[in-house]
């Protein structure tokens, strides 16, 4: 018997919450639970975990029954590029300094747009690097190294 997922959004959302519920319950078992009168650190988390399991499961099942829309994703590029931009900024900041990290950030995030043109990315980089340096390092005095440290 083939099960058709009628409402993709509900089904996967339900699965997601169900999964979170499982993780919560598993983690919370390690903490002492106590009683309702005298709650231990594990009581509330386990309660929440079970509730998530129920609601997640219910939503997933609803996704099998009721008709609804499917999930529409045009391209995975924006997701990859934006995440990539933030992560490369994160890992380049300390070793290479703010300017280089921003270079990576601007270029990679620009790649996330369909209308990417190198010219624009370069100009944008210079503008943003200037703004960031003046605003964050000089005006606000945040401890961001501009270039690589020795």
């Amino acid at each position: 018997m083939r099960i058709r997922i009628r409402n993709g959004k509900d089904f996967y959302a339900g699965l997601f919450f169900f999964f979170i519920g499982i993780v919560t319950v598993l983690e919370a078992r390690a903490y002492s639970i106590g009683t309702a009168r005298s709650m231990g650190p594990g009581y509330f988390p386990i309660l929440l975990g079970y509730l998530l399991l129920m609601i997640g499961g219910g939503t997933a099942i609803r996704g099998l029954w009721l008709k609804g829309e499917g999930i529409k994703i045009s391209s995975i590029r924006p997701l990859l590029m934006v995440s990539g931009a933030v992560l490369s900024f994160a890992f380049l900041l300390k070793p290479c300094g703010l300017i280089l990290a921003l270079l990576a950030l601007v270029f990679i995030s620009c790649l996330g747009s369909r209308e990417f043109r190198i010219r624009y990315a370069v100009i944008l980089f210079f503008v943003l690097a200037a703004i960031a340096t003046v605003l964050f390092v000089y005006v606000l005095g945040l401890p961001l190294p501009l270039f690589w440290s020795k």
Binding site: A13, A28, L124, L135, G141
Partner: protein, 497 residues
């Protein structure tokens, strides 16, 4: 009359050139801070604290207060323009404010936010003048049982923040509650959900969650829709609110002001709830609730007034009792002490110039902020006409630096990315982020207050029902819940038949 004399005293203090200058300076810096996502008033006040060592205490406090509510004004700007809340109280403004911006109505949204905030600030200042000591006492009547019941009411209200599926909203709230529990348990010292990562011992930072869930997720989502260009409207229809806008908003402003003024006094976290409560209230009594979430101006007017009123009245417990209501107040308390001033009921008597000067300068600060912000609206709106492909890398940059500036932690940035990805997926699955945020804020507080109420009552559950304030809140929550569920039940019945 005494108050009249006090006001005059306050005016003479607040209107000295130096104090006016510092007020303006504080308000400017505060607005800048508020507009920049991630950089919050607490960090700035702390940074500028040393500058205040060399100025008289009144001046120092005026500047610090200016920074504080300047950041409230600035925070709503980013909420409306780019869907990134600057403060926890601005989260709700994202819902309808950003929707309005996408419809080309950023100008009216910003204007109403500013005007509502100003009105609320003025009223709140008057309330402080007249009722400060009484309200201070009221704050003491709230014990853990009352706070818990208030949180329950808040959670039920949180379900109203979504305009989609109720079940998914509840799931998001629960998810938020779980995320809020990450960290060290206050009562037992147990580290929960930290997986051994030391940065998590103090919990997940609110800014990290919000940057990812609201900022990054929204950017990814907009890029995904680029082809359709439905988000990227560059048509702007007027900078100022129309007459019908004003007509729709003024009652919301008043309601929000009242709500915010009352909730701001509670030291245990009332101010955060004020904007959420206002939103829920407006949605509940609106003739057409389905407008909310897609650009209802009441959804901006009410919450913005509420959070500004709350920001002002949250000074009361600090000034009258010496109890700070949030991190920023705690810093101001420290600043006062460094200058040798001990807050408490005595402050009004011993240093009336300080007390009344501060209060009048609050009003002056609000005035300055409105004067500053209204013309700025033109600039902000023009900023939105910049093609998105130039705008969004800038937003990503501001998010990154904002998150990093919290704890200089790369792990925070990685978490923000994670929240961005998860937030994007959840958006695709029609799960809205606002209920999660409310759950995230309320979750740990609810647990703490419940456990504390149980300890104080030695395990007696009835304490929630025997204390009058607590009972009222719980009843209100029950009624609200029923009112929300009833239409669904009726609907299902109609389906079946």
């Amino acid at each position: 009359m005494d108050i009249f004399n006090n006001m005059i005293l306050g005016f003479t203090v607040a209107f000295t050139p130096w104090n006016l200058f510092y007020c303006l300076f504080g308000a400017l810096i505060g607005t800048l801070i508020g507009v920049l996502p991630g950089v919050g008033p607490a960090a700035t006040i702390a940074l500028l604290l040393p500058f205040t060592f060399n100025v008289p205490p009144v001046t120092a406090l005026i500047m610090l207060a200016g920074i504080y509510y300047g950041s409230q004004y600035g925070g709503s700007t980013t909420s409306i323009l780019v869907n990134i809340p600057g403060e926890s109280s601005s989260v709700v403004t994202c819902l309808d404010g950003y929707a309005m911006a996408r419809q080309g109505r950023a100008g009216p949204a910003l204007a109403i936010a500013a005007m509502g905030s100003f009105f609320a600030g003025c009223v709140a200042t008057v309330i402080i003048c007249l009722l400060a000591p009484t309200l201070g006492e009221l704050a003491l009547k709230f014990g853990p049982a009352e706070y818990f019941s208030m949180m329950v009411l808040g959670l039920v209200g949180a379900t109203m923040l979504a305009h989609g599926s109720l079940l998914k909203a509840i799931a998001m709230i629960l998810f938020g509650l779980v995320l809020g529990l990450v960290g060290t348990d206050v009562n037992s010292g147990t580290r929960r959900f930290t997986f051994g990562i030391s940065t998590l011992f103090d919990g997940i930072d609110f800014v990290v969650v919000v940057m990812g869930l609201f900022g990054l997720a929204e950017i990814i989502s907009s890029l995904d829709h680029e082809k359709k260009k439905e988000i990227l409207t560059t048509k702007v229809s007027g900078l100022m609110p129309t007459r019908s806008d004003l007509k729709a908003s003024w009652k919301a402003v008043i309601r929000g002001t009242v709500l915010g003024s009352v909730l701001g006094i509670l030291p245990g976290g009332g101010a955060i709830l004020s904007s959420f409560a206002s939103y829920a209230l407006e949605k509940r009594i609106a003739s057409d609730p389905s407008r909310f979430g897609i650009g209802a101006i009441e959804g901006v007017a009410g919450p913005e007034s509420a959070n500004n009123a709350g920001a002002q009245t949250s000074f009361i417990p600090m000034l009258t009792l010496g109890i700070p209501t949030n991190g920023v107040m705690a810093l101001m308390l420290g600043a006062m002490m460094i200058h040798g001033i001990t807050p408490g009921p005595r402050v009004m008597v011993e240093r009336p110039d300080l007390f009344w000067g501060l209060i009048v300068s609050m009003w002056v600060g609000n005035l300055m902020l409105v004067v500053l912000n209204l013309p700025l609206i033109g600039i902000w709106v023009r900023l939105l006409t910049v093609p998105y492909r130039f705008l969004y890398p800038a937003i990503v940059m501001f998010c990154c630096i904002g998150v990093y500036s919290l704890n200089n932690s790369i792990f925070d940035l990685a978490m923000a990315t994670g929240f961005g990805i998860v937030g994007y997926i959840l958006l695709k699955l029609d799960c809205e982020p606002a209920p999660l945020v409310l759950g995230f804020i309320l979750g740990p507080m609810m647990e703490i207050y419940f456990r504390r109420a149980m300890v104080l009552s030695r395990g007696d559950f009835t304490v929630f029902f025997t204390q009058p304030i607590s009972l009222t809140m719980l009843l209100a929550a029950a009624i609200l819940l029923l009112m929300n569920i009833a239409p669904i039940v009726r609907h299902k019945r109609e389906e079946v038949f």
